[in-house]
């Protein structure tokens, strides 16, 4: 397959200046993977995301945050103390050469930076400004205090995620936020989309613009059936163990393989899936009455009992083999089954090795490379996204970026004397 369409350098002329907290790290990381140059401007103590664990060392250290490492690949770090009024001149000169200013954080902080940069945006009308805030730049909630967890609560994801209720539909377990920092993932993905749209618009019009990303709204877009079920039918979906939230309790359940791995093994209401499952049961030698008149009769008499019978059979089939074999046999028959893996179990999977999913990143300080998830797509041969540099050390690129922005060595020395950089 031809690879002249690879996108890994498609943003190579785009310069993004990123300022703020962990709400912006992922959005800029994604565009960096398509070739954008991301300059992260940090306060002297380092960006807030440097203080998020886990850490590679026993005690927290801004250079040792694995969280920071992951979300800041390929980026450059510049120290600039934007709370000093005299820092605005360097910022102005950097923004004069930038395409996108990405601001992330709570509303008051982002609002202050937008105000600081208003004049610079006026002088560079091609500049795209993207503000990622918890609730957006307007509206009654804009100043609410939030965290990832609070956002997942208000945004609606927690209400659809958790464990089954009891027989009376009462819950003795809380709603669950499915993964940490997920609100920033969703917000970051939407911010990246919006920035791509703004770049397309600028190609057509020559104009930059202001993008106002609300993490709250971003979370709201992905609760699937919950909103339509309510809007159209006035019904509330129920959270259910490892299944989609739905207005009724569904039958599917997790199965366990012979080697003790939970498997997602279920059948959709398509005849071809039932046929495939029958073949699988026959292959592993488990007796059953599926697709016989006896089963047809049971389905007619008691649909629920028939489903239970079938789910019991699925459990037996899965329990008869190690997870790897269940996975391969089921997939060979066209059943969309999978083991429930820990993320790291994918590191050595040959499928991802073949696709180049993991980017091998050298850390000179560690004297070794680490593998990071590095793409979501290939062109048939090579990944569309590309990461090659570890996250920057604090201020690692201060001098080189200022030189790029037109500062002389003497000017840089003066900035340093003023403790601006």
């Amino acid at each position: 397959m031809s690879s002249d369409g690879n996108l890994r350098t498609s943003l190579e002329n785009v310069v993004i200046v990123e300022i703020g907290d962990q709400m912006g790290d992922y959005a800029a990381l994604l565009l960096a993977g398509l070739g954008a140059e991301v300059i992260k401007i940090e306060p002297p103590e380092g960006a807030p995301s440097r203080s998020i664990g886990p850490f590679a060392t026993a005690t927290p250290d801004p250079e040792q945050s694995i969280f920071f490492w992951r979300y800041n690949l390929n980026k450059k770090s510049v120290i600039l103390d934007l709370d000093q009024p005299t820092a605005l001149e360097p910022l102005k000169r950097i923004l004069a050469k930038a395409d996108i200013l990405l601001l992330a954080g709570e509303f008051p902080a982002v609002e202050r930076r937008l105000e600081q940069c208003r004049q610079f945006a006026h002088e560079n009308p091609r500049l795209i400004q993207c503000a990622i805030t918890p609730f957006g730049l307007d509206g009654p909630y804009r100043e609410l205090k939030s965290t990832d967890l609070v956002q997942m609560a208000l945004g609606g994801i927690m209400a659809v995620c958790g464990y089954d209720p009891d027989a009376d539909r009462k819950y003795d377990t809380p709603p669950i936020a499915p993964a940490m920092w997920h609100s920033y993932h969703i917000g970051g993905e939407y911010a990246a989309i919006a920035m791509m749209a703004a770049l397309n618009f600028r190609d057509l019009s020559g104009e930059g613009q202001l993008i106002d990303v609300s993490v709250h709204e971003a979370i709201n877009t992905c609760t699937e059936l919950a909103i339509p079920t309510y809007i159209y039918n006035g019904e509330t979906v129920l959270r259910q163990t490892s299944r989609h939230a739905a207005p009724a309790i569904t039958q599917m359940r997790l199965s366990t393989s012979a080697d003790g791995v939970y498997m997602l093994a279920s059948l959709s209401p398509f005849e071809r899936e039932e046929r495939a499952f029958v073949e699988l049961a026959d292959q592993v030698g488990i007796a059953h009455v599926l697709r016989t008149p006896e089963y047809a009769e049971l389905e007619k008499q008691d649909r629920r009992a028939a489903l239970t019978y079938r789910n019991d059979l699925i459990e037996q089939v899965v329990a008869s083999l190690p997870a790897r074999e269940v996975f391969e046999k089921a997939q060979a028959l066209g059943l969309a089954w999978s083991p429930i893996r820990r993320p790291e179990e994918n590191l050595d999977d040959r499928h991802f090795a073949a696709r180049g999913t993991f980017a091998e990143i050298y850390h000179p300080e560690l004297g070794r490379s680490l593998r990071y998830p590095g793409t979501v797509a290939t062109d048939g041969q090579a990944p569309h996204m590309h990461y090659s540099r570890r996250a920057p050390r604090l201020g690692e690129h201060t001098d080189s970026v200022l030189e790029w922005a037109g500062f002389s060595r003497n000017e840089i020395a003066e900035l340093r004397r003023q403790h601006l950089i």
Binding site: Y71, G162, L204, R243
Partner: protein, 437 residues
């Protein structure tokens, strides 16, 4: 309508997308492109086995919903209205702003017609099971002969390159494989809770839109197209980088943390039961100052002044007891009232909102105009979930170019085949007769 009052172009002005996607994972990308002004032509076939599952999957618009009827919540038969594929509510929410045509790709003339459409298109998107387009002779290598600058987005569970290139997947399958399913749930429960929805039916659409827009910029600049083999599973792995890197450094296996926050000194941190049925509030205490403010809000109960809870480290160490005590307080409280009181003290707190709360109550979503009313030609006007960002110069509008929610099956056959492709009325009639469109 967002962009018609001025003469500015839309972000994707003049872009035409041939949309062969279905279910959730594919249509998500084209939904976004439509909202930025691309002309998205959704191709479907009306035979039961080929029809998008979401057209006949619950929930359905209530029976009283008609083209002119206002929206009123109501119950609908579990099968919609048999033989009518235009009442699916989730389908309506997933496919606004798109044109809809019917086309039989099992018919040679149908495939010819598709090639003709591809000739003048910027991009084609599909998420069939691996290999289906090749079986029709409509894979990327074939279609680029018709249009060398074509962008081709293919979304599959594992990705079309690699060992598992023929493996099949729904969103939950990819989610289980990627590690995301494992991450969700309580540490003391053997089973993961899973996600309650398929994020991996969303994020490939987000990445699809992102990569397509990167490719469209380049196509505009130098005419090049390209092939995008999107992997649902990889979009999940992108979110697990921290765990994966930590594992390489320490050998530590990933664990579940429930709603707690082990990576910062934050406690209490969780969802706490409030008054009423299944009502909860999320509270995140990030500092001793916030903890003191919470104590004051609780009117300084003796337990809260226990020295074990005085520091973040102590609170984290004794979280089980802390959570039980805090619940004794929250369980008596009205959830929104408590949220307002805690927020007034600058404590991060938010109600665990259900759909009704988000739709009927949430003042922020209302003020920002998040839900957008759009008409549907069969079931009338309903609120559709919007695009979660405001762009000052090229706003997204989920009604796209059609100004409509989802298309009825084949609703735009005349517009697309006659007005765009230039087929005559007689040709259309003949194609209809031959079961091609």
């Amino acid at each position: 309508m967002a962009n018609q009052a001025n003469s500015r172009p839309r972000a994707l002005e003049g872009v035409r997308i041939i949309d062969l996607t279905w279910l959730q994972v594919g249509p998500q990308a084209t939904r976004i492109l439509a909202s930025f002004g691309a002309q998205v032509i959704r191709i479907e076939w009306r035979k039961r086995g080929a029809i998008d599952f979401l057209r006949y999957f619950q929930p359905f618009a209530p029976n009283h919903a008609t083209p002119d009827g206002g929206r009123v919540q109501g119950s609908a038969p579990s099968h919609g209205v048999r033989g009518n594929y235009d009442r699916g509510a989730y389908f309506n929410n997933t496919n606004p702003g798109k044109y809809g045509v019917t086309l039989n790709l099992n018919h040679p003339k149908g495939r010819d017609l598709l090639r003709r459409m591809v000739r003048d298109a910027n991009a084609i998107c599909e998420n069939f099971s691996p290999g289906q387009m090749d079986k029709w002779g409509l894979g990327y290598e074939e279609l680029r002969k018709v249009n060398p600058g074509l962008i081709y987005l293919q979304t599959t569970g594992m990705g079309k390159a690699g060992t598992y290139k023929d493996y099949v997947s729904y969103g939950p399958t990819a989610q289980a494989f990627s590690g995301l399913t494992f991450l969700s749930g309580l540490p003391d429960q053997a089973q993961p809770a899973g996600w309650g929805y398929s994020y991996l039916d969303h994020s490939p659409g987000y990445f699809g839109a992102m990569l397509l827009m990167a490719a469209l910029r380049r196509q505009r600049a130098d005419g090049r197209g390209g092939y995008i083999d999107m992997s649902q599973t990889e979009t999940g792995l992108m979110l697990t980088g921290t765990s994966i890197v930590e594992h390489q450094l320490t050998g530590k296996n990933t664990e579940r943390y429930g709603n707690r926050m082990p990576f910062r000194a934050w406690a209490p941190h969780g969802a706490y039961r409030c008054a009423g049925a299944d009502n909860w509030i999320a509270v995140s205490i990030q500092s001793d100052v916030q903890w003191q403010a919470l104590i004051e809000e609780m009117e300084s109960p003796a337990w809260a002044r226990d020295s074990r809870f005085a520091t973040a480290a102590g609170r984290q160490q004794h979280q089980d007891e802390l959570d039980a005590k805090l619940t004794e307080f929250t369980v008596e409280q009205d959830r929104y009232d408590l949220m307002n009181r805690l927020q007034a003290r600058a404590i991060p707190a938010g109600v665990v909102q259900r759909a009704a709360d988000r739709f009927d109550h949430d003042p922020q979503l209302k003020a920002r105009g998040y839900y957008v009313d759009l008409p549907h030609s069969e079931i009338g006007t309903w609120p559709i979930e919007g695009f979660p960002s405001k762009l000052s110069a090229s706003p997204a509008y989920v009604g796209g170019l059609t100004g409509r929610a989802a298309p009825k099956l084949g609703e735009d056959n005349d517009f697309v085949y006659h007005d765009i492709l230039g087929l005559s009325t007689d040709e259309l009639a003949a194609l209809r007769e031959e079961d091609v469109i």
